[in-house]
């Protein structure tokens, strides 16, 4: 990825909120994220920090009672938040695809694999001839390295193994060669032995099709293997963004530091796995300052009062933390 690459997806200050009887939950509190053409970005964070919600917001699939309440999502320069439902449908599946976490529950159990893949292909590529469609479906299944595609076409999701189902999901997502693939925890629900296979398949295909990938996960190991850049997310905000190797070498944000400490690296002996003290803040009642301030060992008074902004600490590496915000320092700390 060179600085000259065009941005494919530009998310600026995206806010998504859920309006419940008990109060308003801010799932996304101003996200900035950019995906360039041909690159794979990892989005890491713990459960509940808003990673999946980012993906759903991009695709305009935020479930009721949630809504996008601010910010912009630009795909190839087009403002997605302002598109009509019909226009969005043209983009979903064709230009931006998503793979969900649990392959068991993500496929319609009463339709065959073949008919589900065929449905997507005929929808976006307008192929209606039965035999032509069948050929395309088989091609796609071959692409994801499923053995005996002709048998699989007639099978139902419950007849396949977990790994095969995930391959089918990948096939569905890539069937129309989207420019952007969003993969939400694609290997988490799989057996450890299968995880590596599926992951490498994903990498290959993305490279082959020429898509960009937004990989959402809580597993730093996967990120290390697959992504060019990483964004770390906490309580609905991006707190650090950097090229992968640099993040692992020198994490800046105290949360990222904590994450990496808690993550045992192969070859290193971990004396003890350290956990980050404290718990995630209540998304209904976000504190005025930095959301991590309560648990941060290096928190200053300012952190509790003023939200930090993203600052560039080195080429391509940005952090949202007062510790690195020299200009924001106005007389205290």
């Amino acid at each position: 990825m060179s600085p000259a690459s065009k941005p494919l997806l530009e998310i600026k200050d995206l806010r998504t909120q859920f309006f419940l009887d008990e109060g308003v939950v801010s799932a996304l509190d101003g996200i900035d994220l950019t995906v360039f053409e041909g690159e794979s970005i990892g989005l890491v964070g713990e459960t509940g920090c808003g990673k999946s919600m980012t993906a759903l917001s991009v695709l305009g699939l935020v479930p009721h009672p949630g809504k996008i309440t601010g910010g912009s999502v630009k795909f190839r320069g087009i403002e997605l938040t302002k598109l009509s439902e019909e226009q969005m449908r043209g983009i979903r599946g064709a230009q931006i695809s998503m793979i969900f976490q649990d392959p068991t529950s993500s496929l319609d159990p009463v339709f065959t694999v073949g008919s589900q893949i065929g449905e997507v292909i005929s929808l976006h590529q307008e192929v209606y001839n039965k035999s032509a469609l069948k050929k395309k479906v088989i091609d796609v299944l071959n692409l994801v390295k499923i053995a005996a595609p002709k048998t699989v076409i007639a099978q139902y999701p419950h007849e396949l193994s977990g790994g095969m189902r995930q391959r089918v999901m990948i096939a569905l997502a890539l069937s129309c060669s989207p420019s952007l693939l969003i993969a939400d925890e694609p290997t988490t629900a799989l057996d450890v032995t299968i995880q590596a296979q599926v992951l490498s398949l994903l990498k290959d295909l993305v490279a082959r099709v020429g898509s960009s990938m937004l990989l959402i996960t809580h597993n730093l190991g996967i990120v290390a293997e697959t992504c060019d850049r990483v964004c770390v997310m906490y309580a609905g905000k991006i707190v650090e963004e950097s090229p992968t190797t640099e993040l692992f070498d020198s994490p800046r944000h105290p949360y990222s530091v904590g994450l990496l400490k808690a993550f045992p690296k192969p070859g290193e002996r971990a004396e003890e796995l350290s956990a980050i003290k404290g718990t995630v803040p209540n998304l209904m009642n976000l504190p005025p300052g930095c959301p991590f301030a309560e648990r941060c060992e290096r928190a200053m008074d300012k952190c509790r009062e003023v939200k930090p902004r993203m600052v560039e600490v080195s080429l391509g590496h940005r952090v949202a933390c007062h510790l690195f915000d020299k200009e924001g320092d106005r007389g205290d700390g």
Binding site: P63, G93, D102
Partner: protein, 312 residues
């Protein structure tokens, strides 16, 4: 398709003990009646030679399992005895064969009416939760459910036949016009139950991951709902189709009485009233078997619709 066939065969085999049990229960009914069993089978004012004949034929002096065997043997050959009071002398099976189609028509139309109301109402209620349609639908189901079929039938009778003078009060003509009121009674009553089932099932389905997945592939909302969600949501509704058939049978007995519809239910009630035991016994046996068969068909329908079931 092979797995579907083996499922069907398995289910048919499993239905056999239930049919056997039904015959046992119906057979034993004779011994529950107070007094000497023979009195129930013999026409009133019959002479001693008739008693002899009956005693012989039914083997009333023999051990009970032999009598059961004779009973089954006769039944399989279509001999369910003769009516002793209502249609004296006529073969029970002949009477039943005459009236069964009427009951089947009634149940069929009732089923159609029920599902025509329940499926759309349930789906719309689920999609527009808490809207006035949803709330109205819930009120309707609550009230209609609290009105047993005979009461609902009387109300419809009052409204349509007496006040509005729209439809005939009695069903003796047997034409379609007189079928509507009783079928509507059954249909509306059953719709009360089925609507709630449909609604909750639909609510469950639209929360599922695969629905969001389908949307993320760009499928139009209409297709997601009607092609995918609906098919999945109908599955639990089909499972209760079997229970429904039992309800319809029970309901039609009562409804036929209210509207004097000449079906098996009406036959059975007049038989009970007139102490015509062979007729009662025969009717119940046929109805019970009809329900069991109906259950079987519902099971098969379900397996056809939901491929996951065929293995189990």
């Amino acid at each position: 398709m092979a797995d579907l066939l083996s499922y069907i065969i398995r289910k048919m085999i499993l239905a056999i003990p239930v049919v056997v049990a039904a015959t046992v229960i119906v057979f034993l009914m004779l011994y529950l009646t107070p007094g000497d069993p023979i009195k129930s089978i013999v026409p009133p004012r019959a002479g001693p030679d008739v008693y002899e004949q009956v005693r012989d034929k039914y083997g009333l002096d023999r051990p009970i399992w032999e009598q059961y065997g004779l009973f089954v043997w006769r039944a399989v050959h279509g001999d369910l005895g003769n009516s002793i009071t209502v249609w004296q002398g006529t073969s029970v099976s002949k009477l039943i064969a005459m009236k069964l189609p009427n009951t089947l028509m009634l149940m069929g139309l009732g089923l159609a009416i029920s599902y025509s109301i329940a499926v759309p109402l349930g789906v719309i209620s689920a999609l527009r939760q808490n809207s006035w349609i949803d709330r109205g639908g819930m009120v309707f189901t609550l009230i209609a459910y609290a009105m047993p079929p005979f009461w609902l039938g009387v109300v419809f009778l009052m409204i349509f036949a007496v006040w509005l003078n729209l439809l005939p009060v009695e069903g003796t003509t047997g034409g379609l016009g007189s079928l509507i009121l009783p079928a509507m009674t059954l249909g509306v009553g059953n719709a009360a139950l089925t609507t709630r089932m449909m609604r909750s099932s639909m609510l469950e389905v639209i929360k599922q991951d695969y629905i969001t997945q389908l949307k993320s592939r760009g499928l139009p909302g209409r297709e997601v709902i009607f092609k995918h969600a609906l098919k999945n949501a109908l599955l639990p509704v089909i499972t209760v189709l079997g229970l429904d058939i039992g309800w319809f049978v029970g309901g039609s007995v009562v409804v036929e009485e209210v509207f004097s519809w000449p079906g098996i239910g009406e036959l059975m009630t007049s038989a009970i009233y007139n102490h015509d035991f062979p007729l009662v016994q025969g009717s119940i046996l046929v109805l019970a078997i009809a329900v069991i068969l109906g259950n079987l068909m519902a099971d098969i329908l379900y397996a056809w619709a939901d491929p996951r079931v065929r293995l189990g």
